[in-house]
Symmetry: C2
């Protein structure tokens, strides 16, 4: 693979000077065009040590308008990063729409390093490649342009660079006094790199391999690749072909049972029994939350349900059992503009708490396949691909050791009406009922279908949905607390 990158491509200084000015202009034009667009550009600068990745990043910042670029480097990982799923650190520095994010060190760094150090099995490596592929495809599907550059140098050039023999070299070994760790690993690095490149080269996110020995050739080539990719980019957001699970498909067949019809809404619990059970489960949950803390296991819990289903009060029965230092409650409302300028999952990633802590979401990423679908805030293509995006997201949480719980609190349409009326009458509850609630009620059947498909697509072994019978609030709360205790008990003391 790399033999074509040691053939001696080079530019004379005069050629470089001639090419530089029109290239800069092209890049600037592409950048100004981008500023008007609603997608970001993500540039991954990867390659061998000594190939001049850092210098290229400097050059790109020099050529383009730095006001539209953010350069992110990944190097020493903080404990805040290490105590969350691997991709959290990349999510938190993704560029907003209209801007460029340059990544020097990226999601490729760790698998590459691990492969060179023989610290990853063949299977783990395949999983890592697949995760990268999903991540980049998701960004691409959202409109992002992903440009990946790989800089290659021969073993001789690398050695000269790393040993400081190259002119005006700027290097890493200054971090410590130990001899540069990749010395002698050149062949192995190439081998791992080839596997990584092959495993992550896809039509929507191609690798560009660049011979990097000559800095003039390297910089001009990288610049041209970026300029052309930016000029050519048309964000794709076309509807996927509608599958058998598409809403229209079901709608034409009339009112069919959904998974919600299986929830027994007649269940209830008497006050005395409720109080006893509440106290017992809260005590247990308190213990379990400290145990999870000690075992550095985090919990991510999602609460969804009909308006007035009692999400808030159910959540309070859960949080009431847990030390405030051990959890964060996230109320999901309208996104801020920083959130709107990102992939829709970004605002949820940014809320994830550290290992040992719980994050509770009052409404969640499932809004994408519920309200955004029903209200047509998301296109069919967007909400349909959201199922797999969400599954990927939750799989990453679970793989990191999170315990994922998801509740849909179900009530009947009549029960909802009764609660709306009560709310309208009680002064301290009046704020809870809005015009929007009445409007949502009219779309009851659309929501039923959306919930049915949501459960069908996203209730997985590692992150199953719990459908809660909510007509009787005590019953619902105990069911939720019980599920918490059961799930956490089963998960703790096990291997991550």
């Amino acid at each position: 693979m790399f033999e074509t990158l040691e053939v001696g491509r080079r530019l004379k200084r005069s050629e470089y000077n001639d090419l530089q000015l029109p290239l800069r202009q092209k890049l600037l034009e592409a950048q100004f065009e981008l500023a008007q667009q609603d997608y970001p550009v993500i540039i991954v600068v990867a390659g061998l040590d000594g190939a001049g990745k850092g210098t290229l990043v400097h050059r790109l910042n020099e050529w383009m308008d730095p006001r539209g670029i953010e350069t992110n480097t990944y190097w020493e990982h903080s404990d805040e990063e290490e105590s969350r799923p691997y991709f959290w650190r990349f999510w938190r520095s993704l560029p907003p729409r209209g801007k460029i994010g340059i990544f020097l060190g990226s999601w490729y760094t760790r698998p590459a390093q691990a492969a060179v150090d023989d610290q990853m099995s063949r299977e783990e490596f395949a999983v890592a490649c697949q995760q990268i592929e999903s991540f980049e495809r998701m960004l691409h599907d959202d409109g992002a342009l992903v440009i990946k550059l790989w800089l290659h140098v021969s073993e001789e050039v690398q050695r000269a660079q790393l040993e400081g023999k190259a002119p005006r070299s700027q290097q890493n070994p200054r971090v410590s006094d130990r001899p540069y760790e990749l010395h002698g690993n050149y062949a192995k690095t190439l081998e791992a790199s080839e596997k990584l490149i092959l495993g992550t080269d896809s039509s929507h996110s191609r690798w560009h391999l660049i011979e990097a020995q000559d800095r003039y050739y390297r910089d001009i080539t990288a610049g041209e690749i970026i300029a052309e990719a930016m000029q050519a980019h048309k964000p794709r957001n076309q509807p996927l072909p509608a599958g058998p699970s598409d809403a229209d498909d079901i709608a034409v067949t009339g009112r069919q049972p959904t998974v919600l019809d299986g929830v027994d809404l007649t269940k209830s619990m008497e006050k005395d029994k409720y109080k006893k059970k509440l106290a017992a489960y809260q005590d247990k949950l308190q213990d379990l939350s400290w145990k999870a803390y000690r075992q550095r296991r985090s919990v991510v819990a999602v609460f969804e349900g009909w308006d007035a289903a009692g999400k808030g009060s159910a959540i309070r029965r859960v949080t009431g059992a847990i030390d405030p230092r051990l959890y964060k409650l996230v109320q999901v409302g309208a996104p801020t503009d920083e959130e709107n300028a990102q992939h829709y999952l970004w605002r949820f990633w940014r809320q994830l708490q550290r290992d040992g802590r719980a994050t509770f979401f009052d409404r969640s990423w499932y809004g994408r396949v519920l309200v955004e679908r029903v209200e047509q805030f998301a296109s069919p293509a967007e909400w349909q691909r959201a199922y797999s995006e969400i599954n990927q997201f939750e799989r990453q949480l679970v793989a990191h050791g999170c315990i994922v719980l998801k509740f849909w609190i179900h009530i009947s349409k009549d029960e909802q009406m009764a609660r709306f009326k009560t709310r309208a009458q009680e002064p301290h509850k009046r704020h809870k009922i809005t015009d929007e609630d009445w409007r949502n009620r009219e779309k009851w059947h659309d929501y039923e279908l959306a919930v049915d498909q949501m459960v069908s697509h996203t209730s997985t072994q590692h992150a199953p949905w719990t459908l809660v019978a909510g007509n009787d609030k005590p019953w619902a709360r105990i069911q939720i607390l019980k599920t918490f205790c059961k799930t956490m008990s089963a998960a703790l003391d096990k291997e991550k």
Copy 2:
């Protein structure tokens, strides 16, 4: 001080039930009123261990609409927090305008703990109190309502709680198996608490002391204090009395010399000499940046100057010498809405890099006393108090070990005109010149005055301004690089 808090205030359960409903209503009304306002509410819940701080926080979340509240707990500090000035962690979780932030554990926790453990001298303790006072005054001046609650219990009640004898108690010792560390320290804790409360009780940010033995009395009292404070709050934003340094004062005396007149704009450097010096200083700066990294010293550098003064190209000469992993360049443009919903310094705090790294600001917090002053985006009261707010901010940076550099790149009005014309002609520079630049030019004299007063108020021993002669770009760049090298050399190897 605390003897009045052990007199046996209590409520019967029936009284509590009667009082709870109207109180909730009052709190909710205050909260909805707040949502329309452009200031945040900051509630500090402090007090003795075993006094029920956590339970009170649960109660407040239950009583109010959790959609408008964010609860922040400070406990185990992350390395991202520890490697930045102490207040960074609080800045990053301040509530936006219209919302409530509850702080369980706060800026009081560390000084209180240190005082109990005898790890803080009397002088350090005084400095800590003063920092807290400045922080809260700044928030208050920006409109925020700060409510501070101190929960007190007697030694007997504390012991019963901590030893788990109290009914339904929820405690900390589960974190570890060691006996609760405050045992036996009750008297000492009271002593330190009293000092801390006295040192930070001010008219704009009062402490409310609450007898907390009876949970009914505690919760109702805390709720009433919050409801009343929220109802009564009128954010103050009145102009300060204009001091002798006010702009008007100088304007009436006609065109007087300013500090900028002392900059010798005839300075220049020949190309050959420039190239040699550039290479030498960049090499030196490269070494120094690694040295700073090894010594865990961070650098914060501010670049300000006239439009077309050459800030961008000067910054590139600095960053060009530094490994991209060791710095972050922050381009300060229009604030996002998340930034607009916070104190104006928030957007700069959030950018600070970790120990050992540099943060470069292309434009900065000085916008408050430059463009925001001249364009009247900030009221006189706002930009006048900004001087001391900025000094406080920079003092915290320096106290933490940051090396702070500030550059104003000065050019003559004629030189600016010449550069505007060139920019308009060169295609790859055309984007740099906007209508706004021409408008700013008309206000040259207003900016001169603003710069003069900025330097006068904020050029301090620990964070001095460097006025750079910018008519000749090579000269300016070398002057900046030289200042970097000199300042960093002097600061490194010294005690933080």
